[in-house]
Symmetry: C2
Subunit: 328 residues, 2 copies
DNA sequence: CTGAAAGCGCTTACAG
DNA sequence: CTGAAAGCGCTTACAG
C-alpha cells in the first residue's frame, strides 16, 4: 500500500510558481506577495498538500518533537501530568514522542529512540536515568528534565515539589494536633519523592521527640493496604498515618475501614498528590496538592531555555495542604 | 545551542569506507563483510553515531511512527490501554506520537500533525472522527483504527468489545437472580460503548418484561454519584445497578454507601472494564473484563495489515464477567 | 562486498 | 517578491 505523499513541487507546478515559493508560503514570516500566497494556498488545499515535517526537520534541525518517558502508569497523578504536558506542548507547536518504560531505569534503547528522531528535549517523569545516559545526552546537547524527581548526582535539570518542606508542614500539623502514634508509609524507597517526604516528615517529628513508625511500601495500593492491615492486627493503633502518595494513603484508609477503625476519629490519614480520586466522597482524603500545572510550566520553561549554562537547575514548587474528611 | 549531530559521512571517513557502507552496516540484511562491519561499528560507537530517523524516513517513506490519539484521560482504563499500546508498538519497532485531545471530535489540526510526520497509522481511542477526516486519511492511504469505539457510518476499522452481547449476558445474570428494580447508568450518551451496553442490557430485560430505569450520566464518577444519590433520595430502591463503565459503577456504589444501602444485600452493582481499582478491597466491584491485551493486539494487527481491502473491519472481542463482592 | 551517484522533500542564502 | 541551486542525512539501484 504505497503512500501518495504530495510534495511542494507538485503544488508549485500547478500554481505556476517555484517550489521555493511554495515553501515560503508555509514558512511563517517568509515574504510572499498576497496574491501568490492565495494562489498557492488554494492549490495546496485542492491537492491536500502538507509540508513534510521530516524533510523540514532534516534541514532545519528543528523537529518540534519532545520525548516524554514515563514509568509508573498506574498512578493517576501521572495521567494528569501526561494530559497537561501533551496539551501545553501542543499549544507550543511541539509533538510528543511518548515512551512508556517498564524498567526501573530508562534504557539506553529508549533514549536512542528519542535521539534518532532528533527530539529537542526529553522529559523523564518518574523514572531513573543513568549518569552515562545523561552525559551522552549532554554531548548531543539535548536537554533533559526530570519531572517529579530530583537527583543531585545527575547533571540535569529537575522540577519537583519541595517534598521535604511539604512533608515538614504535614508533620507540623500532625504534631500540633497532639498525635503521638504516627506512621509514615513509604513509596518506592529508591525514589527521591519517597525519600524526601520521609525525611521532611520524620526529621520534624524527631525534633519534637516523636518517633515515627515507618512502613516500607512501594507506592502501590495493595502493599499499603496489606501493611496497614498487618500493623493494626499486630495490635498497634496509630493516631495518624501519612502516606507517601495518595494511592498509598488510600490503601491505608481502606485497611483502616476494613479493620473498623473510624477515620478521622480514631486515626487520621493524609496523602500526597491530590489525585482526582482523593476528592471522591467515599474517600475525601486530606492531602498535599502538587501544583501540576505550575510544575509542567516550569519543565517546559527549562526545556526551551536553551541556555549554555551547564549548571543544572533544581526547580522546587510549593503546593499546599488540603483538608478533607480524613483529618480533623 | 546548536546540536552536533554526527552523520554517517563522518563515520565513513574515520573508518575509511564509503558512506554507503556505513549505511549498510545499519541496515538489517544489507551485505557487508564482517570485517568492515566491525570496523564501522567500532568507529560509530566511538563517535556516538546514530542513524538519523528523519533522513531515513524521508527516503524510505517508512517512519516507524504511529499516531495515538486519546481523549478521556481520566478513565484508568485508557491508561492501561496506553501502556499496553506503547509497550507492544515499541516491541515492533514503532514509536508513538501521542496526542491528547480535549475536543469531542479529533480535530483536523491533530490529524494534520500526524500527517506531517508521516505516521504509518493512527489509533484513535475514545474520540470521535469526522467522516471528512477519515476520507482524507484514506486518500493519504494511512490506516485508522478506532479503539473501543465502533462507528458504522465511518469507513474505518474498529476494535471493541462486543458490548451488546456482554451487556446482554449481564442482563441475563441480573434477570436470573430475580431482580426487578433495575437501573442502568449511561456513559456519555454519544459514545458507541454506552449506547451498545445500554441496548444489550435493556433489550434483554424488555424481552423478559422488565423495564429498566435509565440514569443519563457521562462516564464521570461525580455525575453517577449524584444521580444515584438523588434516585435513592427520591424514594426509589433499586435491586441492581449496572454502570456503563467501572468509574460509573464506583460512583453509584459510593452513593449507595453514602445512603447506607448495603451492597450486595440490598442492591447489587456491576461495572464494565475491570480497571485496577475494581479489585481494591474497599470496592471489590463485579464487572465485565475487557480483554485489553487482545484488543490491542487486534488493533496493531489491523494497523499492519496493509490490505488494499476497502471493506472496514469491525473486530469484536468477548471478554467475561468477573464476580466480586458487589454481586451475590 | 563496496563505491559513486541520484534522490527523498524540504529550507535558505544568493541573485535578481 | 521570486527562482535556481545547494544541501540536510540518509537509502538504494547500478556497476564493478
Amino acid at each position: 500500500m504505497e503512500k501518495n505523499i504530495i510534495s511542494a513541487m507538485e503544488v508549485a507546478k500547478l500554481a505556476n510558481v517555484s517550489q521555493s515559493t511554495v515553501s515560503r508560503v508555509f514558512t511563517p514570516g517568509a515574504s510572499v506577495s498576497e496574491k501568490t500566497r492565495k494562489k498557492v494556498l488554494q492549490v495546496a488545499e485542492e491537492l491536500n498538500y502538507q509540508p513534510n515535517a521530516l524533510a523540514r526537520g532534516l534541514i532545519t534541525k528543528k523537529t518540534n518533537m519532545v520525548g516524554l518517558a514515563m514509568k509508573d502508569i498506574q498512578n493517576p497523578f501521572y495521567h494528569e501530568v501526561l494530559g497537561i504536558f501533551t496539551k501545553k506542548l501542543k499549544a507550543m507547536g511541539y509533538s510528543v514522542l511518548f515512551v512508556y518504560t517498564e524498567n526501573e531505569e530508562i534504557q539506553q534503547e529508549e533514549i536512542n529512540h528519542f535521539l534518532e528522531y532528533n527530539v529537542e528535549g526529553i522529559i523523564v517523569t518518574d523514572a531513573l536515568l543513568s549518569s552515562k545516559i545523561v552525559s551522552k545526552l549532554k554531548h548531543n546537547r539535548i536537554p533533559v528534565i526530570l519531572f517529579n524527581r530530583n537527583d543531585k548526582s545527575l547533571q540535569c535539570h529537575s522540577v519537583s515539589c519541595d517534598n521535604i518542606d511539604a512533608a515538614g508542614s504535614i508533620a507540623k500539623y500532625v504534631f500540633e494536633k497532639g498525635y503521638k502514634e504516627i506512621v509514615f508509609i513509604t513509596g518506592k524507597i529508591n525514589t527521591s519523592t519517597s525519600q524526601d517526604r520521609q525525611k521532611g516528615f520524620v526529621d520534624f517529628l524527631i525534633s519534637k521527640g516523636i518517633v515515627v513508625t515507618i512502613l516500607e511500601s512501594d507506592y502501590t495500593y495493595e502493599k499499603s493496604f496489606e501493611l496497614t492491615k498487618n500493623l493494626i492486627q499486630s495490635g498497634y493503633k496509630p493516631d495518624a498515618i501519612f502516606g507517601a502518595n495518595d494511592i498509598t494513603a488510600l490503601g491505608a484508609l481502606d485497611a483502616l475501614k476494613d479493620r473498623k477503625i473510624s477515620v478521622p476519629d480514631e486515626t487520621i490519614v493524609i496523602g500526597f498528590d491530590n489525585i482526582k480520586m482523593a476528592a471522591w466522597p467515599n474517600y475525601s482524603l486530606s492531602t498535599w496538592v502538587q501544583p501540576v500545572e505550575e510544575m509542567v510550566d516550569e519543565t517546559i520553561n527549562l526545556l526551551t531555555l536553551n541556555s549554555n549554562d551547564d549548571e543544572p537547575k533544581a526547580v522546587k514548587v510549593k503546593g499546599h495542604f488540603i483538608h478533607r474528611k480524613t483529618t480533623k
